[in-house]
C-alpha cells in the first residue's frame, strides 16, 4: 500500500501527511488550513482510488506540524481525514481529526437574516448533532445542517 502512495505523491522527509480527504474537498482543506498562503514545500494528489470513498486526496506539507485546534477545523469537510506525522521519512505518529463542539469564524450560518451574514460579526456555531453534522448558531439560534455548511 505504501509503495502505491509513494508513487502517487512523493514522500517528505519531515512534516505532515493528511490522507483520506474526500477528493471534492481538497481545495477547501487547503483553504481552511491556509496552505494557499504557505511557503513550505507542499505536494498533493487528488482523485486517487480509496476503499473508503470513491476518490480521495492526499496532501503532504513539509516541515509543518499542525496544532490540534488548527487541524480539527477540517473535520467539517473531511471528518475521515488521517494525519501521519513524518520524521526522517518515517511515520512517528498517527492522528485523527475531531469534530469540535464549537467552531468560531470557520463556517457560515445558513440563515440569510442572521446578523453574522449582514454585519461584520464573527460566526459562532455550536455542535448539536455529529451524524449528520448540525450546528446551532450562537446568535440567531437557527440550525445549519451538513448540506448547508459553507466554509468561510
Amino acid at each position: 500500500m505504501s509503495t502505491k502512495k509513494e508513487l502517487s505523491v512523493s514522500a517528505i522527509q519531515e512534516g505532515t501527511v493528511i490522507d483520506h480527504i474526500p477528493a471534492e474537498y481538497l481545495f477547501k482543506v487547503i483553504r481552511i488550513l491556509g496552505l494557499d498562503n504557505c511557503s513550505n514545500l507542499i505536494t498533493f494528489g487528488t482523485n486517487l482510488g480509496s476503499s473508503k470513498f470513491g476518490k480521495k486526496a492526499i496532501i503532504k506539507v513539509a516541515d509543518k506540524f499542525f496544532k490540534d485546534d488548527e487541524i480539527n477545523k477540517i473535520a467539517l469537510v473531511a471528518k475521515e481525514a488521517r494525519l501521519n506525522i513524518i520524521k526522517d521519512y518515517e511515520v512517528v505518529e498517527k492522528k485523527l481529526v475531531h469534530i469540535e463542539s464549537e467552531i468560531i469564524g470557520i463556517a457560515r450560518c445558513f440563515n440569510p437574516k442572521c446578523i453574522t451574514n449582514n454585519q461584520e460579526v464573527t460566526t459562532r456555531l455550536l455542535l448539536v448533532e455529529k451524524e449528520p453534522l448540525a450546528y446551532k448558531c450562537h446568535y440567531c439560534e437557527k440550525i445549519t445542517t451538513e448540506e448547508h455548511l459553507e466554509i468561510i
Binding site: K113, I115, Q119, V121, C137, Y139, C140, K142, I143
Partner: protein
Amino acid sequence: MKDLSLVSINDFSKEEILKVVELAARFEKEPNQDLLKGKVVASLFFEPSTRTRLSFETAINRLGGRVIGFSDASSSSTTKGETLNDTIKMVSNYADLIVMRHPLEGSARYASEQSSVPIINAGDGANQHPTQTLLDLYSIQKTQGTLEDLNIFMVGDLKYGRTVHSLLQAMSHFNPKFNFIAPDELKMPDEYKIWLDSKGIPYYEHSEFTDIISKADILYMTRVQQERFVDPMEYEKVKNIYILRNSMLDNTKDNLRILHPLPRVNEINTDVDSNPKAYYFEQAENGVYARMAIIASILGLV
C-alpha cells in the same frame, strides 16, 4: 453584560420565570412606582413596532424612568451606515439599560456581548421575543391560577410563528399537554417536536379546527400570514379554515381563555370579542406589568 440581559426565553430558568410572573402581579396592584427614578433607558427600535414600543415605554414611565431612543431606523444613524456594534457601544455609555428591536436575527445576542449595560430583546427578526412570552405566561397564570398541568392548543401558523415556539419552550417547565392545529404547510417544525419528545411532553397534531378545542384551557391563536406562502393558491385554500367564531366556543371549558399576540386580521371573528373567554386585549395590557417586572428584576431593583 451578557448574564443580566434578556435575549432569549431560554436564558430564564423556571425560577426566574416564576419570579417575573409573581412580580408582574405586584406591579399590576401598584402600577406607579419610583424604582427607575434617575435612570435612563434607551429604546432602540431599528424597525417599527408601535405596540411593543408603547408597552415598554409605558412600563418605563410607570417606574419613574426616562426614555431616550428612536422608533424607526430611518431616524437613526443606521441610515448613514453605522454598524450595530457602534450604535450599541455609544448608547451603552448613555443609558442604564437598552431595550432593542432589530430586524436581523441574532442581533440581540450580539448587542448583549458588545454592551456595557443589560439588553432586553424586544424582538430580533423571526428569532426571539422573550418579553412577549413572559407576558403570555403572566396571562396564563392570571387566568388559570397556575401554569402547571394545562392543556394548551396552538392554532394557525405554527411553522414561522416565533411566539408559539417560545411559549412552547417556556411552558415545558410546567408539565403541559399541547395540541397543534395547523395546515400542512404551517405545521410545527420537527425540531420542536423532537425536543418535546426528549422532554416527555405529550402533543397531538390536527389539521382541522373542530370541537376538539372543548378540552382546551388555553387557545393560543396566531395569524396565518400570506407572505409565508410560496404559492398564493395555497394561502387562499387555508386562510379561512382557521377562523375562530363565537359559536365554536359553546362547548368549551369555563376556564378557557383565548390568547393572541395581536395584531389579528380575520382569524378571530369580532363576535368573539364580547365573549368572557376572549382575553387578547387584557393580554396586551398585561404586557406593561410583565415588562415592568422584567426591567425591575434585570436592574436588581426588587
